[in-house]
């Protein structure tokens, strides 16, 4: 749709166990979404993320986290209802990462009009390329939920002036 830019960003290191959850969701979604939706796998570096968010009307970000909940737990946060918990900055394994990028986007008045974060509770962030079973299940579930959200919001009705 004209003037709309939708992006799904999967954040994480594909070589660090469950940290690969974000990129894994993006891979599940390849070929399964309308062609105008950008799909990006990303390291999570904050300033580059900020650049990706610039000009997006709807952004969906998927990252692994470690808040202490059972592995595979799915958290969903609408950024227009508040920032990520401060701890999320540290529990993501990317230093100045996702939470900082989103807080910076807000401070600079660049937060996309629709901005949703899915965080999947990880179990192991050791070197290696396989997801733990509960996280692999959660990856499938988040991919399904995103397909549904993105088809519901095919026209991306703007919830705020944009």
């Amino acid at each position: 749709m004209a003037g709309q830019r939708r992006i799904v960003i999967g954040i994480g290191n594909p070589n660090r166990g469950d940290d690969a959850a974000g990129p894994a969701v993006v891979r599940r979604l390849r070929g399964a979404l309308p062609g105008d939706t950008e799909l990006v796998e990303h390291s999570g570096e904050a300033t580059a993320l900020l650049g990706l968010l610039a000009g997006a009307t709807a952004a969906f970000l998927v990252d692994a986290c470690a808040s202490g909940a059972p592995a595979g737990t799915i958290h969903r946060r609408d950024l227009h209802e508040g920032d990520l918990p401060p701890a999320a900055a540290m529990l993501s394994s990317h230093g100045l990462g996702l939470a900082a990028a989103l807080a910076l986007a807000r401070a600079l008045n660049q937060l996309p009009p629709r901005c949703i974060v899915y965080a999947i509770e990880g179990q192991s962030f050791d070197w290696g390329t396989s997801l733990s079973p509960p996280v692999a299940n959660a990856v499938d579930a988040v991919a399904s939920r995103l397909r549904a959200e993105l088809s519901e919001t095919g026209g991306v009705p703007c919830t705020r002036p944009c």
Binding site: T47, L50, L96, A107
Partner: protein, 429 residues
Amino acid sequence: MTRKTIKVDYLMRVEGEGGLKVVIRDGRVRSAELRIFEPPRFFEALLRGRAFAEAPDITARICGICPVAYQMSAVHAIENALGIAVTGPLRELRRLLYCGEWIESHTLHIYMLHAPDFLGYPGAVEMARDHADIVRRGLSLKKAGNEIMALLGGREIHPINVRVGGFYRTPRRRELETLAERLKWAREAAIETVRWTAGFDFPARERDYTFVALRHAREYPFNEGHIVSNRGLDITAAQYDEHFEETHVARSTALYSRLRGGGTYLVGPLARYSLNYDRLSPLAQEMAREAGLGPSCANPYRSILVRAIEVLYACDEALRLIAAYQEPEFPAVAVEPRAGTGFAATEAPRGLLYHRYRLLPDGTIADARIVPPTAQNQACIEEDLASFIGGFLSLPEEALRQRCEQTVRNYDPCISCAAHFLRLEIDRG
């Protein structure tokens, strides 16, 4: 003194994760210990048994912030083992790629990680609320560096276009020319960055450092040069192991580097600048003078200003390289495997990065050694804390803790080459 312990669970605004403990007794700093956990050692093991051609892409994975440094030290060391010299436009393109990394890495540190310390903010987000235009300038300047890396490296993070002997693909002249306009803006932004950081309030603290950096016959150093110091050291990378040693310290998984018989030393912007001021471009020298810097700098808190000078130099040098660029006939020189040992040191944004590879006759890596700059600076960071923090003990606890963090951040420690959270603990007994 009353018993008192201050803990900061996580020190933010450093690249990665690690730990710091400062012990204070009777009003004096008794010890300062930095603990970092160091994946380069893991990568050394991972490299054994792999083909030499894989080393640039494997080592680029060590760090998301300075992958070019790892690639450059890797290709130069392997080319040294194979008896290859990469010259002409291919050599100049490597220099240009390094300019991109310095611009993006230094600018990230200046604007997002270190400036908040000087302006009294807990972090870049809070600073951005009051100084949005300055933060936007920093983000755009950093992006100019990323654009060089994306064009020459194939992508911004973990570049994939670098190979032993040169590149997989070299850019057309007109592609580089598209970068030039952006870099002219970046050079102006870099001048503004120098002026901005020159206005910060720097604690008046200096130490008599042993500076170690590359020095080249004509250039401010990126890829090539002798390893020199301000105490008369002047060696090639092949002699590194004869002059430097690493010792294991129980509290850290990183090894501590020392000069054999000569103690600790400092690598990075202060050392490079102080040993190579005369190799900076006229514009960078002029701005250094305007900013109040002399031909050397031994105040680590002013490292943010020296980084700003190096960003300006990198923009200036990138524009020079682009203007002089001639498209090479081939993207890489021919490479034949053979047995041998190769050595190289290049200047990562954080300082000297040493690689050594031993190759089997078919080009398989038999042994690899990587000494990252943060491991070399580790002892120096601890000595800075031990020397300086005693003078700040009258500060309120929060300000003291912030000063400790600032002192670590002077080094832009790449603990993520590395590992995980930097926990800060101040133990007052």
